[in-house]
């Protein structure tokens, strides 16, 4: 109904409604870099700056200024020409787009050394997450206190997710237990899974999976090492 065509006159008028989620879909490559920008903004803020240029922020994030500005342009126009970006404001916008403007609850399945490392990692809170629960199948582990939480049995997972409102689950089990862990997480209602098990997980299409496979990372490094050494 409302004319979408742009009259061939003076361009540059920004009619986009500010403050809302962008209409265009964000490129996946851009989304993947946003956490780095957020982290870089924290570092800049820690250094005491209230404003930052694309030049400086790009350097802190390890990208080019052109790429940074291009990425940010997908979120809207939050900078000021000739000045730069307001650190707090931009951080707030990126956090909102990422969905971590408010803290998100995360549950961890599998409390071996890796789960332990995750549970005692102190950096989650400042990145928008709170560890809401730990689950393990080993009777020797259930009931123990790890990182301020008591490890619960698998049967308690669904109640745990419902009680805490967790939307993301982490699979830190041995490989052979990973699919069961994922199934349980899906059944309990999480919509995102981060797995460290070297196994392809089958999940419904509405559940997003990201996999960290240490051996694969090492093999990619080996490729480069074998050409360079």
């Amino acid at each position: 109904m409302t004319g979408r065509q742009v009259p061939p006159g003076p361009v540059g008028a920004d009619d986009r409604a500010p403050g809302t989620t962008p209409g265009q879909p964000l490129p996946a490559a851009t989304v993947a870099r946003l956490p780095g920008y957020l982290h870089a903004l924290d570092a800049v803020r820690g250094a005491g700056a209230a404003l930052v240029t694309s030049e400086r922020l790009a350097q802190a994030a390890g990208v080019t200024p052109a790429q940074l500005r291009k990425d940010l342009s997908f979120l809207g126009s939050y900078g000021r020409r000739g000045v730069g970006y307001d650190v707090d404001h931009l951080a707030g916008r990126i956090a909102a787009v990422l969905g971590v403007a408010t803290t998100r609850a995360v549950v961890v399945v599998g409390v071996g050394h890796l789960g332990h490392a995750l549970a005692t990692y102190g950096g989650f809170a400042e990145r928008g997450f709170t560890l809401a629960g730990l689950v393990d199948a080993d009777p020797a582990v259930i009931g123990t206190r790890v990182g301020g939480l008591v490890v619960e049995p698998p049967a308690a997972l669904m109640a745990l997710v419902m009680r805490t409102g967790a939307t993301i689950g982490v699979v830190a089990t041995p490989a052979h237990a990973a699919q069961d862990a994922a199934d349980a997480l899906v059944a309990s209602g999480v919509t995102g899974i981060l797995t460290f098990a070297p196994r392809a997980l089958r999940v419904p299409p509405n559940v997003e999976v990201r996999a960290v496979d240490v051996a694969s990372e090492l093999q990619i490094l080996a490729f480069h090492a074998s050409r360079h050494a």
Copy 2:
């Protein structure tokens, strides 16, 4: 789990010498998928198949057949039209290209829970790696036995790398110690670093770094979760 096999004798038609670099440079996206193909080949072999089609292997690896064939075409012509790929031979070729045809030594710096998890992870050997040494700065940790290895002090790192021929180092320290750990690894001669610390590492251009940042992974999942829920 079946052990990874070293390329057998002269099986294929146009064998190049193992370890030689291909004519054209491999696309980075292709290199990043090769570990998945190698892993999928192990699964196929475990199922007892000596031959595999691009259709089946692609499914096991979670890509399309077209993408798999395109990727493999960069390595050379190792399939047989109308037949498929010889599982052992193809695995050998991919392992050679990745530089894991022979076992590579890896050293881990930082033996907290994460380093512990890495040290006791049993899956390295079958993916082409051997854990050659553990280093930590904590006097309470030095000298303890973890995963069959005695934890050594930072001062022993260079001798360790030289003795074992390690080419890859893993940084599993707290964030504040990560740059020092990376510097020490670079000084000792490794050419690849896998870091789990949420810090940008400064390394010389000849050293390759791959970073796994758990909080960033969670934030990317949060982005999708916030659109879906």
